[in-house]
């Protein structure tokens, strides 16, 4: 059991958890992740240690409230509570090399996963520019990134209350693609790296490909065990089936079968929505019960 030392909402739908997990803190390297199971009847979900202290034995997770599990974590966990399971660290650490001039992109909460890698790359002597594209109220780690890398660029899109969420998200994708194009036109980079929704990763890749710049992507397929046992996370890379949890999560963007990956990530959408709706009903009932 892993005690929550600190919990705070650092931006809209973005929650910061500082958790005691010495076995992870001792070993974790940039690019690795953990599998968290917060509740007894809960799911196992992959999350990324963003910061850590090896001596004090804690890690920081920053979690975007997306579906039922992440909503339950945001609603039900208090500082002092314990997360049932944190397995890890898992996945291969990001390659620590001198690539030269790097553009590291994070869409939405993806930027938190970029942070430890970009920071380490900069420390290694690379010239790192980070780009964060998201909705206005969802900007996170701005100060930290400004301190950590050569240049940090934030591009935001307002949330239009008259539009539904998917349409709003398309606006983010549009801005993301425009901005990346603009940056690649202005300057030449030796490497582009990106974390964010798979659809956005593919859209960015299409632009990067035009410029012929090498690109790596940290992939987010659905995972269960994270240790190579289940095969849920399989992706086709260079025509071969790879398991993202033990072969990745980072792969060469030019080799990834993007459409297959996008289809696989959406397989449970209907069930996830149902779970979320039923959970919201429970919350509403609880709220009404509380008012009486």
């Amino acid at each position: 059991m892993y005690k929550i030392l600190e919990k705070k909402e650092i931006a809209m739908r973005n929650t910061w958890y500082k958790v005691h997990a010495p076995h992870v803190a001792k070993k974790v390297k940039p690019g690795q992740f953990v599998i968290v199971r917060a509740f007894k009847n809960g799911e196992r979900i992959p999350l990324t240690p963003v910061m850590w202290d090896r001596d004090e034995g804690w890690i920081v997770l920053i979690v975007f409230t997306r579906g039922k599990t992440t909503a339950r974590m945001a609603n039900e966990l208090k500082p002092g509570d314990e997360i049932l399971n944190i397995a890890g660290p898992l996945g291969n650490p990001a390659e620590m090399e001198k690539f030269g001039k790097i553009l590291a992109i994070g869409a939405y909460t993806g930027i938190v996963e970029v942070y430890p890698i970009a920071k380490a790359w900069q420390e290694l002597g690379n010239d790192v520019t980070t780009l964060h594209v998201t909705f206005e109220p969802m900007v996170v780690l701005k100060d930290e990134l400004e301190r950590a890398v050569g240049r940090h660029v934030v591009e935001t899109v307002p949330i239009d209350p008259n539009l539904d969420f998917p349409t709003n998200m398309k606006n983010v994708t549009k801005r993301l693609v425009e901005k990346v194009r603009e940056m690649l036109e202005k300057e030449s980079y030796d490497l582009v790296f990106m974390v964010g929704p798979t659809g956005d990763q593919k859209a960015v890749f299409e632009v990067v490909k035009e410029f012929g710049v090498p690109m790596k992507a940290d992939l987010h397929p659905i995972m269960v065990d994270g240790t190579g046992m289940c095969g849920a996370c399989r992706v086709t890379v260079g025509g071969e089936v790879k398991f993202a949890c033990i072969d990745g999560p980072e792969f060469d963007a030019y080799e990834i079968h993007w459409d297959e990956l996008i289809a696989r990530s959406g397989y449970y959408t209907d069930m996830e929505q149902r779970a979320m709706q039923e959970y919201m009903k429970l919350i509403e009932q609880a709220l009404q019960g509380g008012e009486q």
């Binding site: 039922k68 898992l90 269960v224 095969g231 297959e260």
Partner: protein, 481 residues
């Protein structure tokens, strides 16, 4: 033994829940014996002398089968005493009888050799073993035995790390703890038990039983660190700095896939993923449990081992039509006979001599059908004694929204990548003492055998514990000298 017995040819059957009822839930299928029925079955045993008893020879860990069976008859007037005596006989060789009584392929082991088979039905050894373990657990007799054992343990002051909490690791841990070693298990998942927990379904092996077996180990002082992945959280080299010996019981966890177009379509599960979602994460209780699983109206399970039966019968419990497709013939089905019968009773259909060649999608990334080549058997046999098969060039297509691949597994890659660890064809190589190429590191179970059985894994665990004990005794003596 001298008592003259009347030969009763028929087995005393164990009650089972009817098929129509059981395909609606994950409750256990076989209900097991009562004491009265167990005694009746036990009385049929001819009590072959220990040195001769062919059942003992057939058992991979050589349980004194007539020995434990006789206790049930001898103390028939005192059920508690009968069970306690029987359990202590079993425990000298097997610490998980509630599990092995349920999952061992008895028909190929102890029961295969039973001399009663010459005149009638073989003794139902598996169900008797299971009865002893279940009764003991329900009455707390196993705890009693355990607590009698604990004060006799003499602490050795040496530490052993075990990798993996499957049957191999659990058995090694238990034996070493009984010998007085300080034992810590490193387990990757959030629950101990290995395949017993994540693979074999509730309706065949209730999880509460596995949990209670693990509780007993904890009472013996074994520490279990879940969420610790050796190869990531800690390496074998680091374990060797802290512990005096290491045992690898990491199993064969990596699923084999079929190298055919469309393998990554939605709706195609490895048996491991499907069973992990269903068993370990309890997806059959979604949305009360958060993990989803999708089971189409039509399901094809590819393979015909225990894993395939378990996947098929689990899928059936979601109300689906299920077909087991196997590239060989019925005589080569490797699953336990009881499971095959149960599967048939539950309405699962079998297609033999079909080999998948393509997974056909619906254009949106989801599985629609599986294309198979029809196979035929030759007279020639392969190294495992199975008839060789060849393609006929004819094809059949089976429509299905879900396909579950159950064609085997390789050992866990995170472990086999350890520097200095000798591995052949994915399996860890060991000597006759189960020691690997790294001194002080031992291994057993599926990690060295590829996919095998629970009892073989346990046998390895026991043997390794013995070898580790010898190794550490020498180390102690040298250290003291």
């Amino acid at each position: 033994m001298a008592v003259k017995r009347k030969i009763i040819k028929e087995r005393v059957p164990t009650p089972e829940r009817p098929a129509e009822e059981r395909i609606k839930s994950f409750v256990e299928v076989n209900l097991g014996y009562t004491f009265e029925l167990a005694v009746k079955e036990a009385e049929r045993c001819l009590q072959c002398p220990y040195n001769y008893a062919p059942c003992i020879k057939g058992c991979p860990v050589h349980i004194d089968i007539p020995g434990f069976i006789s206790k049930l008859v001898e103390y028939r007037d005192d059920p508690d005493k009968a069970v306690k005596e029987a359990l202590s006989v079993i425990w000298t060789c097997n610490s998980l009888p509630a599990t092995t009584g349920r999952v061992c392929p008895q028909e190929d082991q102890c029961e295969m050799n039973c001399v009663m088979g010459k005149v009638g039905d073989k003794i139902n050894i598996g169900k008797l073993e299971r009865f002893v373990a279940d009764y003991a657990r329900e009455k707390g007799i196993d705890e009693e035995l355990l607590f009698e054992m604990i004060p006799r343990i003499e602490k050795k002051g040496q530490k052993v790390a075990i990798i993996g909490a499957g049957p191999a690791g659990l058995t090694a841990a238990g034996e070493l703890a009984k010998l007085g070693y300080d034992v810590t298990i490193y387990e990757a998942l959030h629950e101990a038990g290995g395949v017993l927990m994540y693979g074999i379904p509730e309706f065949r092996l209730p999880k509460s039983i596995v949990e209670s077996e693990i509780d007993k180990l904890k009472k013996l002082g074994v520490k279990i660190l879940t969420d610790h992945i050796v190869g990531r959280t800690v390496t074998i080299e680091e374990l060797l700095e802290e512990y005096d010996a290491v045992f690898i019981g990491s199993g064969a966890g990596t699923p084999r896939l079929i190298n055919a177009p469309g393998i990554n379509l939605n709706g195609i599960y490895t048996a491991n993923e499907f069973l992990t979602r269903v068993n370990l994460m309890k997806a059959y209780l979604f949305p009360e449990y958060d993990t989803p699983v999708k089971v189409g109206k039509r399901v094809v399970v590819i393979g015909a081992g225990n894993t395939a039966m378990d996947a098929a019968r689990s899928a059936r419990r979601f109300g689906s039509e299920v077909i087991i497709a196997y590239r060989r013939g019925p005589e080569d089905v490797s699953a336990r006979v009881e499971e095959v019968e149960h599967a048939k009773e539950e309405g699962i259909k079998f297609e033999f001599f079909v080999n998948p060649v393509e997974f056909i999608g619906d254009g949106k990334g989801n599985l629609k059908a599986v294309k198979f080549e029809k196979m035929k058997a030759l007279d020639e046999r392969d190294s495992r004694g199975k008839r060789k098969i060849v393609g006929t060039g004819e094809y059949v297509t089976i429509e299905a929204e879900t396909a579950i691949i159950a064609i085997g597994k390789h050992p866990n890659r995170l472990i086999v990548n350890t520097p200095g660890l000798k591995v052949e064809r994915g399996r860890i190589v060991v000597d006759e003492n189960l020691m690997t190429s790294i001194p002080g590191v031992f291994a057993g179970g599926d990690a060295i055998r590829g996919e095998a059985t629970v009892i073989l894994a346990m046998g390895d665990g026991r043997m390794a514990a013995k070898a580790i004990h010898e190794y550490l005794t020498k180390k102690r003596e040298n250290g003291n000298a």
